[in-house]
Amino acid sequence: MSLLELKNVSKIYGELKALDNVSIHVDQGEWVAIMGPSGSGKSTMMNIIGCMDKPSLGEVLLDGVDISKESSKHLTDIRRDKIGLIFQQFHMVNYLTAVENVMVSQYYHSMPDEEEALEALGRVGLRERARHLPSQLSGGEQQRVCVARALINHPELILADEPTGNLDEANENIVLDLFAQLHKEGTTLIVVTHDPEVAEAAQRTIVLEHGRVAREIINENFGK
């Protein structure tokens, strides 16, 4: 069953077509990697799927709802209820501790539950750093907190834009292991990456070039 479908989506900035008539679909529970050179429109696509931006043309169906037509208030609700976001930069609220950063996401979703937040930090191996402020955490650790925050509300879809781009090997492996676990639990994952190793962890890779889908690669070795 298809969770996400982009139909002839374009994003146009003046002369520039950041996305040029892109059509893709992603099934429920699928793990997809997006690759492509810098400036090929990967982030633009992620922002549109993540309800942070609207396409200039085309339709974006998420769970059967065309999000390209929704009001921005409704988009906030959809994002909050269905999507977990992870970025290359470590976006933490700098005056909140690790566990508080996770709980903020809970608060705006449903109810803050510290125990659950601590468990999520446990999944990224940071339970004992829960009371630390971002300034007391390494970059890799901050990114893992962001991953914990993204999964705390059990989103259907996790969008990660170069999540391992700034991570060392050890942290990268922790994050990839977690993605594999989330995949097993049935979460749909879309991961933008430059790193072939990260792409190989996914079931399918979509390659963008100049705002268009250049090709798709099915990972025959997935799960082996």
Partner: protein, 400 residues
Amino acid sequence: MNAFSLAIKNLIRKPGRTAALTLLTAFLALSVFGGSLVVSSLQRGLHSLESRLGADIIVLPASAQSKVSFEKLLLQGTTGAFYMDASALDAVREVEGVEIAAPQTFLASLKADCCAVKVQVIGMDQETDFVVQPWIAQSYSRSLGDMDVAVGCKVEADVGETLRIYDENCHVVARLAPTGTGLDTAVYCNMDTMNHLLAAAEQKGVSHKITSDSEETISAVYVKVKDGYDIDQVNSKLNGHVRKATAVRTRSMLTQVSDSLAGVSRTVSLLIAAVWVLALIILLIAFAMMAAERRREFAVLRLVGTSRRGLCRLVLTESALCSLAGGLIGIGAAAAVVFPFTTLIETQLGLPYLTPDARTMLLLGALALGVTVLVGALASAWAALRLSRTDPGATLREGA
């Protein structure tokens, strides 16, 4: 974890910013509270002067001169002598709504051999007087005997001394409490003494007679209006009924005082307004700086599902907490500045000055606090609105 605790955490973990905002709002509250305290003290001073005059209405001889002369006597301490027939008193008493009518007779002493000092001598009727005697009672427990005088605080004569007026010896039995007005330069006696002095003055060629055959003359009638009667109405009835006399509302005589009071009030108001504008501008800048600094944080909050309204609420809560704390500090500081320096302020302004009662001060404090929080909220609302409008995706895309 909710919007409130989020605000608290931000305030606590950004102590520098919190302190700056608090200080700024404290300054605002200080100026508003301090300024309004001074103004209301002056207003109370004016009211106390009104009650020192005591009467609702004062009836004076009809001549244009007498009112001006009376006001100068009151405010500048110059001497004045104007007279009307004593029958005016009976006419005043006939008017409906008049509760008490107390006559006074004025005599100006001379700067000559016959008199020790040039002063205004005011004779009052001890039976009916409700203005001078309560004042005398503050410093002298008995009533004035014949040839006794009570002197204003600025008259150069001590208790026990003799004051020579038209070659008559008067005994100074009391010095009166200061009022800050022309009344401080006058000398007070009873009606018998006054009649005696008038006769003595007559002999020296200083006549107070209106016509050669008039028996008794008076200078002013202090009128107290009965409860339930409109003072203005009684005033106009008096003007209609009492011949050759003008009834004037006491309040309108205090125009000079209230004018300079208005001047001071205006200055203080301008000062407060200037501080306001300044504080508002600084607050706007502070919040704009904060907005720039926190764009990423707000984008993150938006991305984890905070609505625009949620962000506005966060910023407003933070600013409300800051300005509430700042307001309380500022009001405390204003109290610490104004109260110990009351006397200095009083002499500097040269106007009657009386600190208001506790209830009024609480009210003023609450008002200042409300104004401070309001200004804080206004300044931050602008920043909050701007912040909540920024596109979270774009912000995070550009920010590394």
